[in-house]
Amino acid sequence: MSAPAHTTVSPPDHDICISVRSVTRVFGKRVVLENVDLAVRLGEIFGLLGPSGAGKTTLVRLICGLDLPNRGEIRLLGVPMPRLDMFGRIGYMAQSDALYNELTARENLTFFASLYGMRGAALKRRIAGLAELLRLRDDLNKPVHQYSGGMKRRLSLAIALVHEPEVLVLDEPTVGIDPELRASIWEELRRLSARGVTVLVTTHVMDEAEKCDRLAMIRNGGIIACGTPDELKRAAGGQSMEEAFLHFGGAAS
């Protein structure tokens, strides 16, 4: 794998939230990630852009501590991963909605919150606040199987946020969500980021990548470029993210 085509000056250590160093992950004979380096700063919205099958989900699972790399090291908030107690500081939203369809939204939220040790009046307030934020207030007591796809996605996000994590890891958060709701979710991610929450988002949608503070382009298990959207576009000499991606992708293969 060639060196990233574009590198930004690496930020000072105390500023780094997620640090991935020479990480390789192999499943059987298939090399899913090879020698990946990544540094995500505290409080930024960082995007992982790449086609499906590029290794985004594998990388995200490694960062959360759900999986172990074959080689390399991952640190989250300075702590080497995986660590069980770090799950309390991460909010994770998987690609598919992991919800209990038989239960109501409130029951789902209460269940996951209780796994983080939340209870009582504080929990009630938190659920009410999240329902307001994600426009689920009127549907909190409906069983999830009556929910639309977009509502399920919002509920998944609410569950990822319920314990007020310092790091938010979202795997394709806006798949199957209408443009209006997508905009409102990004608005919320902005607000969280402004409050100091680090947000890591995977996507394969180019225009969504533009909304990130910085992003890494990932292809065939390697980072092919990393920088701000403007930096990447400029380096590729193109106008759009799509052109930039094709440019770096072509350079890497």
Binding site: G65, D67, P82, L84, Y92, A94
Partner: protein, 342 residues
């Protein structure tokens, strides 16, 4: 054309699922082999204790195919009968033979009676035989096959349905992605298993209770021991089914594959849970039985329901069941490593 395309797709799909393929082809052979091994057996040689009777009687019984032990006094023979060392004791009482049958197994009762009648015909060729007095240590001649098999089927059906439901529901937790989501919280792996056992345990406990109640009170299966003890034994049987079911679901990718475990895991247990007399099987096959939880469960159920066994008699079997359950749960905790490294 469309039909051909469809057929080809199904064949391709099926070919890729090697396990389903193997199950369809191999499992019937396996089960058929088991049935043959189990049913293709010699007659049981009844074990008869002879106490205070003429040696001619002991000799004739032995010649007609019984395993005969001669005792000096009746009390010693009765003790062995109590300990299941014997199937029957023959003694002379006022010049008439008195036969005490152990009574809990109809097949063994029948074998004893058959041998006895044959022996009597040899001993008294004239035809005018002395009617022996028949007594039962447990139960009576009114006991039917259902009483005998029922005691084991109670445990078996409790086991079977808990196994299926536990397996499928734990699988659904996985396929719906919620297990993955659960593991992205500070929950420990053993906590996942324990939580599942606890939550599910409630329903299985209810199931075990209803089954025992229905079998003894509604169907009227003979119950010589205490109801509470049967319930306790059944609860532990169901616990082993619950832990085994959730463990097995870790090795299935869909509901269909959970059902594939029925012929592999559940059916063999039927053969070894006492429906068929274990001693008629080849020794290596008996050893297989000892590796299955239901063997111990059925043994305890049988002891309580047919022979009125107390806690002391079944404690060892219950301990083995608990051991199995712990091992299955522990293995499940390890199997969850597949989904989260720590």
């Amino acid at each position: 054309m469309r039909i051909r395309a469809l057929a080809l797709r199904i064949i391709r799909q099926f070919w890729k699922d090697k396990r389903t393929l193997a199950l369809m082809l191999v499992a019937p052979l396996l089960v058929l082999t088991l049935v043959k091994l189990v049913l293709d057996v010699d007659d049981i040689a009844p074990r008869i204790g002879v106490a205070g009777a003429p040696t001619a009687m002991a000799e004739t019984l032995a010649e007609t195919g019984a395993e005969v032990t001669v005792y000096d006094d009746v009390a010693a023979a009765m003790r062995d009968l109590e300990d299941l060392e014997l199937d029957a004791v023959v003694a002379l009482e006022n010049g008439r033979p008195r036969v005490t049958l152990e009574g809990s197994s109809p097949t063994r009762n029948a074998a004893v009676m058959r041998t006895l009648q044959q022996a009597m015909r040899t001993l008294v060729p004239g035809g005018r035989t002395v009617e022996p007095v028949i007594a039962y240590l447990h139960g009576s001649e009114n006991r039917d096959l259902f009483d005998f098999y029922g005691s084991m089927l109670v445990g078996f059906f409790s086991f079977f349905f808990v196994f299926i439901v536990a397996g499928v529901s734990f699988l659904r937790e996985r396929t719906s992605g919620t297990l993955q989501r659960l593991l992205a919280t500070p929950l420990r792996r053993w906590e996942v298993v324990a939580g599942y056992l606890l939550g599910f345990g409630l329903f299985t406990a209810i199931q075990a209770t209803i089954v025992v109640w229905f079998a003894t009170r509604v169907l009227g299966i003979a119950l010589e021991g205490s109801f509470g003890l049967v319930l306790l034994a059944n609860l532990f049987i169901v616990l082993s089914a619950l832990t085994l079911g959730t463990l097995m679901s870790a090795f299935a990718n869909n509901e269909f594959q959970v059902f594939q475990f029925i012929p592999l895991v559940v059916v063999p247990q039927v053969f070894f849970c006492g429906l068929i007399d274990l001693e008629t099987m080849p020794e290596w096959l008996q050893t297989v039985g000892h590796a299955l939880p239901l063997y111990y469960g059925a043994k305890a159920m049988q002891a309580i329901m047919l022979r009125g066994a107390g806690w002391g008699d079944i404690a060892a079997d219950v301990a083995v069941l608990v051991g199995f359950s712990l091992a299955f749960a522990l293995l499940n905790v390890l199997a969850l490593r597949k989904h989260r490294a720590i």
